[in-house]
Structure formats: structure tokens, C-alpha cells
């Protein structure tokens, strides 16, 4: 939405100019927010109103402004953004504006330009020729790029709590602690995912190794098989644990079914080696080396797998992006159209994903550590819920609710 601020003065109440202006804004598909209104006390006193008018497109807003001006609306001139050139590749000018992931507009040459994508912790590069503005990371900036500095001419539109309907996120929007009941919320989350699937939303999972280690992998497989996962974000270790579990029954030497397992840590390395030998996860599925597990389910059900590495990783498994800058780019791109994301027992990966999310992505964070949940959900105000719990019962209950046909829309 692009916006302008208008001011009305005069006998706007007695002349019905104020209601006329507000009606015209609405009938043109735009909306308004009255910032200030002073109504004259005596008969001859004039009144004043300051109104922010927002429309879908710049063209629609221009046309509306033209009409409103005819009825006496004065459009308040806003200041343009200030710009400075990037002094070197990968370096922003001092005092560069740091973005949030909220919808942001910059005013340039008297027009509002939306910054795309809505990406946090970036600078804003302005392209005069194309009248476009984009959020840029350090690696993306080249010497001489015009970068927005200071705060002038910038408008941020925070995500608003919906007034038309209440969904799980907007209703709860908080953290459910370890000692609080969760079943009703998990069932409601199941319904939300059902609605998302029906509406062709994109559901992403960020999966931590604890899923495999606690034996919750089978529940995640049920979600994948039922079509509730479009994209899986994980590290090298998650994939390695999952493969190890399938091939050796252990994950990092632990067996969820047996109190004491044999083989120990070496199973982990043998599993990685098997995938490397096969030429990757998909190849291992094709060659029937990998016949079960989360990664297998992802390959079989066309779930987009986005694997990125960490320093302590063994291997890596082929297909894991180990260059962190490259990994950021890929993750950002793969998160751009995600409507729902579940951050499951993967604190570092979850925080990385949360920092890259578009503002409207609905976010669920599940972790046994309250601090981890708190840090993840604060990235998505009004769009997130956190559950402090072991991931295994959570996934079991969610998979049960979705696969036992309990969902009634």
C-alpha cells in the first residue's frame, strides 16, 4: 500500500466535505486513518482534519488525490529520502538505514516506492532509473550504489492485527510454557495447516536433529506423506541423523528404541559415507539405499529440501550448501513465498530462518528451551506462536490430528 497524508480545513463538517472525502476514499478501494481532527466549537469556527490515505498502487493513489484535491484536500509534501554512495564493494555508507522485515516505503522524487523484498538487517539501495528500491545485504552492494541514509522519507507499515477475523496466531500470539496445556492449540494449528493447504499456501519446516533423535521422525514423515510440508530447511546433521537412523537404527549412536545401542558414533560417519557414495540423497532413494525416513519421504513427495551446513558438520552430504553467503541467498529465495513455517527443535537454524522471514509468514516455534522459543518468535510480532515442549509429543499430536481425519472445515 502506498500512502499520502492530506489535510482538510474549513467548514468541512457543515458542508459535509469530510464525509464526502472519506466516502470517496472508500469507494475508490483505498482506506484511511484519521491522524488528527479538530472540530470548530462555534458556528463560524473552521474545522481541521489530517488523514492518511492508503491505496494499492501509486497510480490509484494519484488518481484519488486528484479527485480529493478538487474537494479541498491539501496533500502534505513529504521529504524525500537522503542518499549516499556506497564507498566500496560490500560497504554501506555511514549512517545507512537498517531495515526491518516490515513493509517499508521510501519517498523519492515525490513518489513512494516500496522496498523489495521486505528483509530485515539490510540497507536500501535506490535505483533512480527504474524508480525501484531493494533491500541489500553487504555482499550485494557495489561501489557507487545509492544507499538510503538517515530516517527521512522512510515509512514503515507494521503488520496490523486483523480486525476482520481471528486466527490461531492473532488470537494467541504468545508463548505456551512447558507447564501449560497444548493439545487444543496443536489441534487448532492442524486446522490452520489444513486451511493453508487448501488455499495453496506454502508450508515450510525447519527441522532440528532432535526430531530424529527423539524418534519423532516418523511423525514428520506422516505430515510429509499427507502433503503438509512443501519445503524442508535443515542442516547437514539432520539429514545425516535421519540417514543413520534408517541405515543403522541409531542417530549419533543413540537408538530411540533400545536403551543401549551398538556401533556408537561411527554409524554417523558410515551413513554420511553411504550417501556420498550414492551421489546424494535423491540418488540414494533411487538406488533403494534409503528406503525410509524423513529425507526419503521428502524425495518421494517432492518436498523441496534446502540443506545448509555448519562448521562442525561431517561430510558434508552432497547437496548441502556450505558457503554461508550462498546459503543465505538460497534460504531467502526459498522463504520468499512461504506462508507458514514451523521451527522445530533447531535453535540456530530457526533463528537464521526467522531473521529472513517476510513479515506476514505465520510462524510456529517449538523448542524445549524457553529462551530459544522467545528469541525465535520475537522476529514475527502478531504472526507467531511459541510452544515450550519436547518436539516429539508435539509432532505426534499434530500428525495425529492431521492424519486421523479429525479436521473438519
Amino acid at each position: 500500500m502506498v500512502s499520502e497524508t492530506i489535510e482538510l480545513r474549513g467548514h468541512i463538517i457543515d458542508s459535509l466535505i469530510l464525509p464526502k472525502i472519506l466516502d470517496q476514499i472508500l469507494t475508490h478501494g483505498a482506506n484511511f486513518k484519521i491522524g488528527e481532527i479538530n472540530i470548530g466549537q462555534r458556528r463560524t469556527d473552521q474545522s481541521f482534519a489530517r488523514i492518511e490515505v492508503a491505496a494499492e498502487t501509486s497510480e490509484a493513489l494519484d488518481e484519488l488525490m486528484l479527485r480529493l484535491r478538487q474537494h479541498g484536500a491539501e496533500v502534505i509534501e513529504r521529504e524525500n529520502v537522503q542518499l549516499a554512495s556506497a564507498p566500496a564493494d560490500g560497504v554501506f555508507p555511514r549512517d545507512f538505514y537498517v531495515t526491518t522485515n516490515q513493509q517499508t516505503f521510501v519517498r523519492f522524487a515525490g513518489k513512494e516506492i516500496e522496498v523489495r523484498p521486505a528483509m530485515s538487517n539490510s540497507a536500501i539501495a535506490l535505483d533512480r532509473k527504474n524508480a525501484s528500491a531493494r533491500a541489500v545485504k553487504f555482499f550485494d552492494v557495489k561501489v557507487g550504489n545509492e544507499i538510503v541514509i538517515g530516517q527521512q522519507g522512510i515509512r514503515v507499515v507494521p503488520v496490523q492485527r486483523s480486525t476482520t477475523h481471528t486466527d490461531l496466531f492473532q488470537f494467541i500470539n504468545t508463548i505456551v510454557d512447558a507447564d501449560e496445556p497444548k493439545s487444543a492449540i496443536i489441534r487448532e494449528l492442524g486446522r490452520e495447516l489444513g486451511r493453508a493447504k487448501k488455499a495453496k499456501g506454502k508450508i515450510a519446516i525447519v527441522a532440528g536433529p532432535a526430531i530424529v533423535r527423539t524418534g519423532a521422525g516418523d511423525h514428520l514423515v506422516r505430515l510429509i506423506e499427507s502433503g503438509y510440508v512443501d519445503r524442508l530447511f535443515a542442516g547437514n546433521s539432520f539429514a545425516a541423523y535421519d540417514v543413520e537412523r534408517v541405515l543403522y537404527g541409531t542417530s549419533l549412536g543413540m537408538n530411540p528404541d533400545l536403551a543401549f545401542a551398538r556401533g556408537g558414533h561411527e554409524n554417523h560417519l558410515r551413513a554420511i559415507n553411504a550417501i556420498r557414495e550414492a551421489g546424494g540423497i535423491s540418488a540414494a532413494v533411487r538406488q533403494k539405499i534409503l528406503t525410509r525416513g524423513v529425507m526419503h519421504a521428502c524425495v518421494r513427495h517432492d518436498v523441496d529440501i534446502v540443506l545448509t551446513g555448519a562448521i562442525r558438520d561431517e561430510g558434508p552430504i552432497p547437496g548441502v550448501t556450505t558457503d554461508v553467503i550462498e546459503a543465505q541467498k538460497i534460504m531467502r529465495q526459498k522463504l520468499a513465498d512461504v506462508t507458514h513455517v514451523m521451527l522445530l527443535a533447531a535453535i540456530q537454524h530457526s533463528l537464521a530462518v526467522a531473521s529472513m522471514l517476510p513479515p506476514m509468514t505465520k510462524t510456529v516455534c517449538v523448542d524445549i528451551d524457553p529462551a530459544a522459543v522467545e528469541r525465535a518468535v520475537e522476529h514475527q510480532p502478531l504472526q507467531s506462536i511459541g510452544l515450550v515442549t519436547d518436539v516429539e509429543p508435539f509432532l505426534q499430536e499434530l500428525a495425529d490430528s492431521l492424519t486421523h481425519s479429525r479436521i473438519r472445515e
Binding site: G10, H11, D14, S15, P19, K20, G72
Partner: protein, 268 residues
């Protein structure tokens, strides 16, 4: 005694087209023009009005429509800022004349179009102002600032009724006659809220410029062609003086357009 300003129609003619009534192909008949104007002059003079005359100027055919010269309240004269360049040349002549006759000339900002009494009529203490075709609504606020009165701004939506005085005529008893569909819904509502007693003029009679009337106490000077309105007004004890105005209607004007009150109101 009311004082009025008229301008002899010596240079009047349809020389350009700035409203839907004007057609250069349909010119005014000079002899008839003189006859109709003189009849108006005589009628107003007989109503114990002091009629002042401003000298007409060649090249300014519409100067005859003195209502558009400005708005006079007490000894203050607020000159018009004409929208069309064809009429802009009238402004200095009217301003100078008023100044010479001891009126304080109070200018509105030059960037605000305002066409005088044509778009500004008092109904009681309230100044009703029309906007869109000729005057800007912004000029109304400037008027309210200048005069300190309540200004009701109403949007005109029918280009044939491009000035307020072509579709709205306040009466001294607080009533008014008007042609409602010349206004948008909000304008109609605003007028209804501020004028309790409204007489609707039919579309056929409105097309004869019946609302373009000069009201001097109980006397109403209006163009002929509105028998229903005349009957209504006479039923309310007004004396109606119906005049032929065909040659001025060709330019989109009639009795009221040809007359400016000096002043329209003594004070706000």
C-alpha cells in the same frame, strides 16, 4: 435602498465558448440585447434601487455579467479571480471602479479561482458557495477567513448550472428556491440542513434560468418561462417581475448574473 452594479451591454456578444450555453454559431441579437438589458435596468430602478453603472470595455463581452465581478460585504469588496483567461481581463476594471467608489478591495490569493457573487450567496448569516466548474473550494476557506462567517461549500455537478446563482436563490424570509439536481448528494444534504424551507424548481423551468433571480425584499426579478415557480412565489406574497432574457441566456446568464449587490450583505 439597495445599491446595485450593472454594466451596459455595449460590447456584449458570444465571442467564445466557456459554458454549454454558449455557441458562436448562435449569436445574440444586438437590438434585442439592448432592449432586454434596459428593461432589467428599468425594473430594478423602479424597485427603489440605486443602480450604478460601470463602463463596458471592448474585448470583454462578459463584463455585462457584473455578479461575477466579486463579492461585496459592507464596504469590503473581494474581487474575483476568473478561471477563464477570456474573463480575467475584467478583474482590474471592477477592482479599480470599486476602489474609486470607496470600497476596501480585499484580494484573495491569486491562485484560487473565485467568481464572485456568481458562486457566493448569503442565505441568512450563512454564505453558500458553489465550487468545481468556476470557483475552487479553497477560495471558500479564504472567504471564511476573510469574512468570519459560516461558509457552506457545495459541489456543482451539472455543467449547465456552472455557477451557484444559476441553480440556487436564497430569499429574505430564510427560504430559498433551487434546482436540486445541479448539486451532488452531499451538497443537497448540506443545503437541506441549513435551509429549512426549500422550493424545488422543475427541470424545465430551471432551464429558463429561473433561479437566476434578483431578490429585493418582496420583489423578485427573474427570467420569464417559469409560471409554476412564479405562482409558488406569489403564493408566498412575493411580487414577481418576469423579464425576457433570451439574449443573455445564450451566454449562460440572466437577471442575477447581470447584477451585483453593493453590498450583498451589510455584515457577517
Amino acid at each position: 435602498m439597495r445599491e446595485l452594479l450593472l454594466c451596459p451591454p455595449d460590447y456584449y456578444g458570444i465571442e467564445y465558448e466557456i459554458n454549454p450555453w454558449m455557441s458562436r454559431a448562435r449569436g445574440a441579437e444586438a437590438a434585442l440585447v439592448q432592449k432586454q438589458w434596459k428593461q432589467l435596468h428599468a425594473t430594478l430602478s423602479n424597485l427603489h434601487c440605486e443602480v450604478h453603472l460601470i463602463s463596458p470595455r471592448p474585448g470583454l463581452p462578459d463584463m455585462v455579467f457584473t455578479a461575477n465581478a466579486g463579492l461585496t460585504v459592507g464596504r469590503k469588496f473581494i474581487p474575483s479571480n476568473f478561471r477563464h483567461k477570456e474573463r480575467a481581463g475584467e478583474q482590474p476594471f471592477f477592482a479599480t471602479w470599486m476602489e474609486q467608489h470607496s470600497y476596501e478591495v480585499s484580494w484573495l490569493p491569486q491562485n484560487l479561482f473565485f467568481e464572485g457573487e456568481g458562486d457566493a450567496l448569503f442565505g441568512g448569516d450563512t454564505l453558500f458557495c458553489g465550487y468545481k466548474f468556476r470557483s475552487d473550494i479553497q477560495s471558500h476557506r479564504a472567504l471564511a477567513d476573510n469574512l468570519g462567517c459560516l461558509v457552506i461549500s457545495v459541489e456543482l455537478v451539472d455543467p449547465r448550472f456552472y455557477h451557484l446563482d444559476t441553480c440556487f436563490c436564497p430569499l429574505p424570509d430564510g427560504a430559498a428556491f433551487w434546482f436540486p439536481s445541479a448539486f451532488d448528494d452531499y451538497g443537497q444534504r448540506a443545503i437541506r440542513e441549513h435551509v429549512v424551507d426549500l422550493i424545488d424548481v422543475s427541470p424545465e423551468e430551471a432551464m429558463h434560468f429561473s433561479c437566476n433571480a434578483v431578490v429585493i425584499e418582496r420583489d423578485i426579478v427573474l427570467p420569464e418561462g417559469a409560471p409554476k415557480l412564479v405562482t409558488t412565489l406569489e403564493g408566498r406574497d412575493y411580487r414577481c417581475h418576469e423579464l425576457p432574457m433570451s439574449e443573455f441566456i445564450k451566454a449562460g446568464g440572466a437577471c442575477k448574473c447581470l447584477t451585483m449587490f453593493m453590498p450583498q450583505r451589510e455584515k457577517c
